[in-house]
């Protein structure tokens, strides 16, 4: 493990900022800490950087405990949200800063700074002052400065937060590519779930100081283990019910009637109260009668309902379908149907989805 936290707890006054967080970050991994503001992700990052001392627990870097080691001796690079470039130093001197501290020879400094600026695609600007650069360029300089001394881990605290949407999207891809090419370990803090899904190898979702789930983006999105994760990442429909059978597949009887099949997560037992989470884009609308729709044996769930509302969003249409007393779900459907076949408000329909697209939440 490149970097790890073991049962790290941090309080500010009587507020619990980080609550017994244990994480292990693998070498070369793009690891994201994702959560709403105030969830403790930035504090966790600052504990790794050495800017905050944990009240309990330990911090490890390359297998060595560094809990008490001051920030300047940790060899961890950091990119701040506001970039924190030294305004009195040129781009070159900003990037050369860590090398000068390490008494690197002048010709090697020149060479490595040039290399770092090349890496972040910013050659030719070495003589500029930070105030003369655009936000995106400042961001690249900050990154070059954090990479140039070859730290074992680079921490990034919402580094794209101050950029406009288009630039942010472009930088996401670029950052990810750069990270993979140089094989560095990145620990990335963000509150933007899409950003985390796009860039990360693994994501730790945090809420109120605790880590709720650590997994790769696909698992986080498709197999959330808690209602918070399912709700925070993307859009989910929630239906509550009780487990009737807990075999290889779980059979859930919804509170409002109707039966749903799902892959059974470990630990789910008969009689347990659960929440079924469904992604709107995995649901389909069918007008066919019940007998025409394949059932759970065919790998499909289907529930009857009535379209109560529909919202045209351009790329698709959101249908709000009332499934009797079980609740209302949002279904995202394409806009490619001919005018006379488009679903309308008040239509009776079947909502159909694959058994494999059903997530069961116990928390």
């Amino acid at each position: 493990m490149t970097a790890s936290l073991r049962a790290v707890t941090k309080r500010f006054g009587d507020q619990l900022a980080v609550d017994a967080v244990t994480l292990a970050i693998a070498p070369g991994e793009f690891f994201s800490l994702l959560g709403p503001s105030g969830c403790g992700k930035t504090t966790t990052l600052r504990i790794l950087a050495g800017f905050e001392a944990p009240d309990e627990g330990s911090v490890f870097l390359n297998g060595v405990e560094i809990t008490a080691r001051p920030a300047h001796r940790r060899e961890i690079g950091m990119v701040f949200q506001n970039y924190a470039l030294f305004p009195h130093l040129s781009v070159f001197e900003n990037v050369a800063f860590p090398l000068r501290l390490r008494r690197t020879r002048p010709e090697e400094i020149r060479q490595r700074v040039a290399q770092a600026l090349e890496m972040v695609r910013l050659p030719g600007l070495a003589g500029r002052m930070p105030a003369q650069l655009s936000g995106g360029q400042q961001q690249r300089v900050a990154l070059a400065r954090a990479l140039v001394f070859r730290p074992s881990v680079v921490l990034l605290d919402e580094p794209l937060g101050a950029l406009d949407l288009k630039l942010r999207k472009a930088m996401q891809l670029e950052l990810k590519t750069l990270q993979r090419e140089i094989g560095l370990t990145f620990v990335y803090v963000t509150h933007d779930q899409e950003e985390a899904l796009t860039m990360s190898d693994r994501i730790a979702v945090m809420d109120r100081g605790s880590v709720l789930q650590v997994a790769d983006p696909r698992t986080i999105y498709e197999r959330p283990t808690s209602r918070f994760v399912a709700d925070f990442i993307g859009v989910s429909n929630f239906l509550s019910g009780r487990v009737r059978e807990a075999g290889a597949k779980a059979v859930i009887e919804l509170d409002g009637g109707g039966v749903v099949w799902a892959e059974r997560p470990a630990g789910v037992t008969t009689g347990q109260t659960v929440t079924v989470a469904l992604r709107p884009e995995r649901l389909r609308l069918e007008r066919a009668p019940a007998e025409a729709i394949p059932g759970p044996e065919g790998g499909w769930n289907a529930l009857p309902g009535v379209i109560r509302e529909l919202v045209y969003t351009g790329s698709d249409t959101q249908y709000f379908v009332e499934l009797g007393p079980s609740g209302t779900v949002m279904v995202r459907g394409p806009n490619d149907a001919p005018p006379d076949l488009r679903p309308r408000r008040g239509d009776s329909v079947w909502v159909r989805w694959e058994v494999g697209s059903t997530a069961i939440l116990t928390a």
């Binding site: 300047h72 506001n82 970039y83 030294f86 305004p87 995106g136 400042q138 101050a162």
Partner: protein, 268 residues
């Protein structure tokens, strides 16, 4: 509405006249060849300036003032810079009390301060000299310097220090390579201000003066002799020109400060 705008310019120019007329008159009389300060002028002359530089006691008091101002302003600026960094960056007990006490000399009348220092020095058996004046001036100039340096540090992005540390700089390195360079213009501004505060100061110096007078004390003593008056006027004119150049330097420094923000905040 248009014709009602005249009171404002009138007010403005009256204010300017009140502020600067005395200074203009001072400059004019510095070149007056007569010894009595009345219009019309008798003629123009540089005699007083020649005489000025030939008067040894006056030159000596000027040297004394420069020494005291240089010494006390350096002491005040160093203390103020340390104090400002401590005040802005660190949490410690009695912080509120610290700043109140440090700024107190701003509110205590100089005469009161002078008398109390006089008492203190005589109680301690310290003879009055340029050193006692210098010590007093360090105290008096400290709050000005402290306010100037603190103002610069308050806007200082704490991430800059953290960035330096993450890059491998210990606190001494961070101080030397990041904090001090960024607040250097404020330190110079504080030093210049402290210098003028000391250079001008009369009340305390007059009470604490030993055998060596500072310039204001010497000039005041010369006012008793009417023949010396033109000399005093010429000296005052010179001091004014000196002070004005310091003022210009301060204005320039403020523009430098405004141009280099202490945080290269995102402009996106």
């Amino acid at each position: 509405m248009r014709e009602r705008t005249w009171p404002l310019p009138t007010y403005y120019f009256t204010l300017l006249a009140l502020l600067y007329l005395p200074l203009v008159i001072l400059l004019v009389f510095a070149f007056n060849s007569g010894t009595i300060l009345v219009f019309p002028l008798k003629g123009l002359t540089l005699r007083w300036f020649h005489q000025l530089f030939a008067t040894e006691a006056l030159m000596r008091s000027l040297r004394n003032s420069l020494l005291v101002a240089a010494g006390s302003s350096v002491v005040a600026t160093v203390l103020a810079t340390c104090g400002a960094i401590a005040f802005v960056r660190f949490r410690f007990k009695g912080k509120g009390l610290f700043i109140t006490v440090a700024l107190l000399p701003l509110y205590v009348p100089f005469v009161v301060l002078g008398v109390s220092l006089l008492l203190l020095f005589s109680t301690l058996g310290i003879p009055r000299s340029l050193l006692t004046i210098g010590a007093a001036h360090s105290v008096v100039a400290l709050p000005y310097a402290l306010l100037i340096v603190t103002a610069r540090l308050v806007g200082f992005d704490p991430h800059l220090e953290e960035a330096a540390m993450s890059l491998g700089a210990n606190y001494a390195h961070t101080l030397r390579r990041v904090i001090l360079p960024l607040i250097a213009p404020a330190i110079v501004a504080a030093w210049l201000t402290a210098f003028t505060v000391s250079f001008d100061e009369f009340a305390i110096a007059n009470l604490l003066v030993g055998r060596e007078p500072t310039l204001p004390v010497y000039l005041y003593s010369q006012l008793r002799m009417t023949t010396r008056l033109p000399l005093v006027v010429a000296m005052a004119a010179l001091v004014m020109v000196g002070t004005l150049s310091i003022f210009v330097a301060l204005v320039w420094l403020r523009r430098v400060l405004a141009r280099t923000p202490v945080s290269a905040a995102a402009r996106a």
